[in-house]
C-alpha cells in the first residue's frame, strides 16, 4: 500500500506492505538506519521512535499504524541546521554511548520522557526507560537524562 506520514517534519510517501513493521519501512524502504533492530518482539527498545510524540517500539508495529501520523526518528532529533538537542548534547557531555547500537532508542525514550516530565526523579527514569543496553551505559544514561532535564528547564 502507499503509506503517507510526516517523517522528521517532512511529508513522506512510501510503498510498503501494510503489515510490514514500521522499523523495516524506515530502515529498508527509506534507508533511515539510525533506528535499530534488536529483538523483533518490542522487548529491548532499540527500535524506539516517536509517533505523535509518544515513544513507540516499531519492530512489531505495522507500518499502517503510522498512516497520517507525525513520526520522529533519531535522525530528526537535532535541528535541521544540525544543532543537537539537550538530550544529545548531554549524551556527549557525559560520554554515555559505548558501542552505541542501543543509544538511538535510548535517546528517543529519554526525549519522550522529558517531553512529558520535565523534572523526572530516579524512579520516574527507572519506570520510563526500560531499554536494554548490553554495554551497561545505565549510570551515565541516568546522569545525562538529569543533565538534559536541567538544560531544557534552564534553556
Amino acid at each position: 500500500m502507499m503509506l503517507s506520514f510526516t517523517l522528521n517534519g517532512e511529508a513522506t510517501t512510501v510503498d510498503a506492505p501494510a503489515d510490514m513493521p514500521l522499523l523495516w519501512v524506515l530502515r529498508e524502504k527509506l534507508q533511515m538506519t539510525g533506528t535499530k533492530f534488536g529483538c523483533g518482539i518490542a522487548a529491548c527498545g532499540a527500535c524506539t521512535v516517536h509517533i505523535n510524540g509518544v515513544a513507540t517500539r516499531t519492530c512489531v508495529l505495522p507500518a499502517s499504524v503510522a498512516e497520517g501520523a507525525d513520526v520522529k526518528t533519531i535522525e530528526g532529533v537535532a535541528s535541521p541546521s544540525g544543532e543537537l538537542s539537550a538530550v544529545q548534547a548531554a549524551w556527549i557531555e557525559h560520554q554515555a554511548p559505548q558501542c552505541g547500537y542501543c543509544q538511538s532508542g535510548m535517546i528517543m525514550a529519554a526525549e519522550a520522557l522529558l517531553d512529558q516530565n520535565p523534572e523526572p526523579s530516579d524512579e520516574d527514569i527507572d519506570n520510563a526507560i526500560t531499554n536494554i543496553c548490553r554495554c551497561g551505559t545505565y549510570e551515565r544514561v541516568r546522569t545525562a537524562i538529569h543533565a538534559a532535564a536541567r538544560a531544557r528547564r534552564e534553556g
Binding site: 523495516w24 556527549i92 526507560i129 551497561g136 545505565y138
Partner: protein
C-alpha cells in the same frame, strides 16, 4: 602442562629467538616496516592516503593542512579504543588534539598488529604479556589459527598496540618532522622543539605547522627507538578526552554492520539447524512464499527484497532436519561434567606446590562444588554480514573483531587469493567475543556466491541466541584446609572445554599464597559450541576462587577482606584491597541494614577489587544498591573511557549473575530472546563508584577485567546477608530474584 612450569624460561627463550629474528629482519630491511619501514610506505601508500596526503608510517597520516589521522588496527565495539590509541600517539608526537581524527585500518596484512611483536624488535621482551606469545610468533614466523591479525580481544589494544606501537610511532613521526624542518631551516635538530602540532626553532624565531613538513618528513627512515616522553610530562594521555566516535552515535549517523546499504542488495533470513550438527534433508515451500531458497546444509536461507519478507517466507517453509544429537539435555550435560571430574578421567595439572593431598586428608577439610552455566553473548546488534561476490573478488561489510581472519576464511571458502577479498569493517554493536567468530561471514559469502548479487544476511534475535559460541558451563570442586587462621592447603578440580583462552594468562591460578596446592583441569569436548565470552576463563575461575576464599574466611572466623590481605604480599594487590576497604566503607555499609561482599581478581594485567552492597527483601527479592570498584590497571590512558569499561563489565556480569543461563532440551537451545534470557536494566542497575589507583606502571587491559569479580562479590554479600551460600549461578537457581 609444561608451559606453566617454565613460564620464566619460556619468556627468555622467546625473547632470545625474537632478537635473532629481528636482527635478520633489521638487516634485510623488510618486516619492521609493518609499522615504520620506508619501503612499506612506498608500497602501501595507496591504501589509505588520498590526494595530497603523505603517510609517515602505518599509523599516522598527516596532511599539509596539518590535520592528523591516526589509523586504528582494532575494531570499535564500544570500548573507545580509537580515541585511547590516538591519545597515546598524539602525546608522543606533540600533536594538537584538536587536529586529530581516527580512521579504521583496512583489513590488509600491513595493518596486522605487528606492534604486538615490536616490543621484541626493540628489546622490551620482558614486558610483553604471555598472552601475546602466539601473536608474536606470527609477526615473524607462524601463528596459531584464531590469533591472526587485527584481533580485538584479550584486552590487548592499549596494553600492546598502544604501549608498544602507537607511542613509538608518534615519537618517530615527530622526529622525522623535526629532521625535515632542521634541513629546511638549516638548524640542528637538537635546537628544535614541537608543541601542539607546530615546530619551533627559537634561536631563529621560526615556527611552522607539522603539515608544512609532511611530504619532506616521509623521506627519512623512522627511528625505531625514538625518545619517549616521561609520563610526568603527559598532556593528552591521562586526560578524559571525549571519544571521537560518540557524536555520530547520538545522531543515528554511525554505521554498524547492520546499517550497510549496497546498491542492488538483497536481504537474507536464516534458519540454522535447531539441533547442533543436524542438516536440512528436505525443504518444502507449500505456500510458494520464498523468492529464493539457499540450502547451506546446516542452515536454510531465504533471500528476498526485504528482511521482513524474507523472514516471513522462511517461517512458511517446512524444513526436515536430520542428524546431531536430539536427545541432549542440560541434565545430560551436567552428568557429563560430573563424569569427567571422576578420578579415572584424564586430567591436566595446571599448578602444583607442596603436598596438598596429604594435608587435605584432614577431617577439617572444607569440600564444596560450584557450577556455572553456558552463557550467550547477546550483543545488541544481532549477527549479520553483507557480502558481494563479483568479478573474481569478494567484498564484505561487517563489524568484526578480527577482520583479517574473516578475510582469510572467505578467501579459503571461495578459492580466492586473500587480496581479492576486501573487508569493510563497520562499527560493532557489541562484540564481547562473539564477533571474533566467522560463522555469519561464511554463511553470507556462500549465499552471495549462490545468488550472484550483494546480500545482507541478518540473524533474528532467536537465531542469534540459539546459534552462539557459548561461554562454557563448568563444574568445579574445591577443597581447602585452614590451620591457625591461614589456608594450609587447597585443591581445585574442574571440567574444561577450550574457549580460546591462552594458558599463559593463567586464568586457573588461585591468586593467594598457599604452600600446598594442586589445580587440575579435566578436558572435554563440549557438545555445544563454545567460545570466548568477555574475560573468557576468568569469569568462571573468578567465581570459584573468590567464592571459595570467602568460604575459607568464614571457616577461619576471619573478616573476608582481612583474610584476603593475609594471603597476599603483592603490594599492588594489597593496595587495591586497602583502597577498596576505604572507598566502599567496608564493614560500615552506606545503605542502612545492607550486607557487603568482596572479591578481587587479577586478569589481563589489571587488578580489580569490588564490593557489592545489597539487601534481601521478602521472598528473596534482592536489591543491589552499590557496586564499588577499585582498579590498578597501571597508567590510565583516558579516565572517562576507563570508568566506562568498568561500568560496562559490571553490568555485563550482573546480567549473567541474576539471569544468565543457556539450557538445552531435546538437543535444542531453550532460550530464544530477552524475556527468557533477561538483562539488567536501569531500574536494577546499582550505583557504581569506580576508583583507579594512580600508577605509572605500564597500562594493562581494561575491556574485560571488571567482569570476573562481580559474581563472587554479589554471592559473598548474599552470604553475609542471609547465611545462604550460592554455589550455582544464576541466582534464580537459588530462588533469588531482582527487586
Amino acid at each position: 602442562m609444561t608451559e606453566q612450569k617454565s613460564t620464566g624460561r619460556n619468556l627468555g627463550k622467546i625473547a632470545r629467538r625474537a632478537f635473532l629474528v629481528s636482527a635478520g629482519v633489521v638487516g634485510g630491511g623488510v618486516a619492521l616496516g609493518l609499522a615504520l619501514s620506508p619501503n612499506r610506505l612506498k608500497i602501501y601508500q595507496d591504501d589509505v592516503a588520498e590526494g595530497g596526503e603523505t603517510i609517515l608510517n602505518t599509523w599516522v597520516k598527516l596532511t599539509p593542512d596539518n590535520k592528523l589521522t591516526v589509523i586504528i588496527p582494532h575494531s570499535e565495539m564500544g570500548q573507545g579504543v580509537g580515541t585511547g590509541l590516538a591519545q597515546m600517539l598524539a602525546e608522543e608526537m606533540e600533536a594538537d588534539w584538536e587536529m586529530v581524527s581516527i580512521e579504521q585500518a583496512p583489513a590488509t596484512d600491513q595493518y596486522i598488529n605487528s606492534d604486538l611483536g615490536r616490543g621484541y624488535i626493540v628489546g622490551e621482551g620482558a614486558r610483553i604479556p604471555a598472552f601475546a606469545y602466539p601473536m608474536l610468533d606470527f609477526a615473524f614466523l607462524q601463528i596459531a589459527k584464531g590469533l591472526v591479525g587485527q584481533i580485538t580481544g584479550g584486552s590487548t589494544a592499549i596494553r600492546l598496540t598502544g604501549y608498544y606501537g602507537m607511542r613509538r610511532a608518534g615519537a618517530a613521526a615527530r622526529e622525522m618532522l623535526m629532521r625535515a624542518a632542521a634541513e629546511e631551516w638549516d638548524a640542528p635538530v637538537s635546537e628544535l622543539r614541537a608543541k601542539d602540532s607546530v615546530l619551533y626553532h627559537d634561536a631563529s624565531n621560526r615556527s611552522a605547522p607539522f603539515g608544512d613538513f609532511a611530504v619532506a618528513a616521509a623521506k627519512f627512515k623512522p627511528n625505531l627507538k625514538p625518545v619517549l616522553k616521561s609520563p610526568a610530562n603527559y598532556k593528552i594521555v591521562g586526560t578524559p578526552k571525549e571519544r571521537l566516535d560518540i557524536p555520530a552515535k547520538v545522531t543515528g549517523e554511525a554505521k554498524f554492520g547492520m546499517d550497510i546499504i549496497v546498491p542492488g542488495m538483497k536481504y537474507a533470513a536464516i534458519a540454522q539447524a535447531p539441533v547442533f550438527g543436524a542438516s536440512a534433508v528436505s525443504i518444502k515451500d507449500p505456500t510458494n512464499a520464498a523468492q529464493q531458497i539457499v540450502n547451506l546444509g546446516n542452515a536454510v536461507v531465504v533471500v528476498d527484497d526485504s528482511y521482513w519478507s524474507a523472514s516471513n517466507a522462511l517461517r512458511q517453509l517446512e524444513i526436515t532436519w536430520d542428524g546431531g544429537n536430539p536427545t541432549l539435555t542440560s541434565d545430560a550435560l551436567r552428568k557429563l561434567h560430573n563424569d569427567h571430574l571422576g578420578e579415572t578421567h584424564h586430567e591436566e595439572v595446571m599448578d602444583k606446590a607442596g603436598d596438598a593431598a596429604s594435608k587435605l586428608k584432614s577431617s577439617e577439610t572444607l569440600s564444596v562444588e560450584y557450577a556455572v552455566p553456558y552463557l550467550a553473548h547477546a550483543t545488541m546488534e544481532p549477527m549479520n554480514c553483507t557480502a558481494h561476490v563479483h568479478d573474481g573478488k569478494c567484498e564484505l561489510w561487517v563489524g568484526h573483531q578480527n577482520p583479517i581472519t574473516a578475510r582469510d576464511e572467505t578467501a579459503a571458502e571461495l578459492g580466492l587469493t586473500k587480496s581479492d577479498v576486501i573487508v569493510h569493517n563497520a562499527y560493532l554493536g557489541g562484540g564481547f567475543g562473539r564477533r571474533s567468530e566467522t560463522d555469519n561471514v561464511i554463511q553470507a559469502v556462500r549465499v552471495a556466491k549462490e545468488i550472484g548479487a550483494p546480500v545482507k544476511l541478518i540473524y533474528s534475535r532467536e537465531q542469534d541466541m540459539s546459534n552462539d559460541f557459548y561461554r562454557p558451563a563448568i563444574v568445579s570442586r574445591m577443597r581447602g584446609l585452614v590451620e591457625d587462621g591461614k589456608i594450609s592447603a587447597m585443591d581445585h578440580a574442574y571440567v574444561y572445554s577450550d574457549a580460546g583462552m591462552p594458558d599463559s594468562e593463567r586464568p586457573y591460578a588461585f591468586q593467594y599464597e598457599v604452600a600446598n596446592k594442586r589445580i587440575a583441569r579435566h578436558p572435554y569436548e563440549s557438545p555445544i559450541p563454545v567460545g570466548p565470552w568477555r574475560s573468557v576463563d576468568f569469569t568462571q575461575m573468578g567465581f570459584f576462587n573468590e567464592s571459595f576464599m570467602d568460604e575459607l574466611a568464614h571457616k577461619a572466623g576471619a573478616d573476608p577482606l582481612a583474610f584476603r590481605l593475609a594471603h597476599k604480599s603483592d603490594p599492588r594487590h594489597r593496595a587495591v584491597l586497602e583502597r577498596l576497604a576505604d572507598e566502599a566503607s567496608w564493614g560500615r555499609p552506606k545503605t542502612p541494614g545492607a550486607a557487603q561482599g568482596v572479591a578481587i581478581v587479577d586478569s589481563f594485567e589489571a587488578i580489580v577489587g569490588q564490593v557489592a552492597e545489597l539487601t534481601i527483601e521478602d521472598n528473596k527479592r534482592l536489591r543491589l544498591h552499590r557496586l564499588t570498584s577499585v582498579i590498578d590497571v597501571g597508567q590510565v590512558i583516558n579516565p572517562s573511557a576507563a570508568e566506562a569499561q568498568i561500568h560496562s563489565s559490571v553490568i555485563f556480569a550482573l546480567s549473567a549473575v541474576f539471569f544468565g543461563e543457556i539450557t538445552v532440551s531435546k538437543g535444542e537451545i531453550v532460550q530464544q530472546n530477552f524475556p527468557d534470557y533477561d538483562m539488567i536494566r536501569l531500574r536494577n542497575a546499582p550505583v557504581q563508584p569506580v576508583h583507579f589507583i594512580d600508577s605509572d606502571h605500564p597500562p594493562g587491559g581494561l575491556g574485560e577485567p571488571g567482569t570476573p569479580p562481580v559474581a563472587p562479590a554479589v554471592t559473598n554479600a548474599i552470604f553475609a546477608a542471609s547465611g545462604v551460600r550460592v554455589r550455582e549461578l544464576p541466582l534464580a537457581r537459588a530462588g533469588f530474584r531482582s527487586a
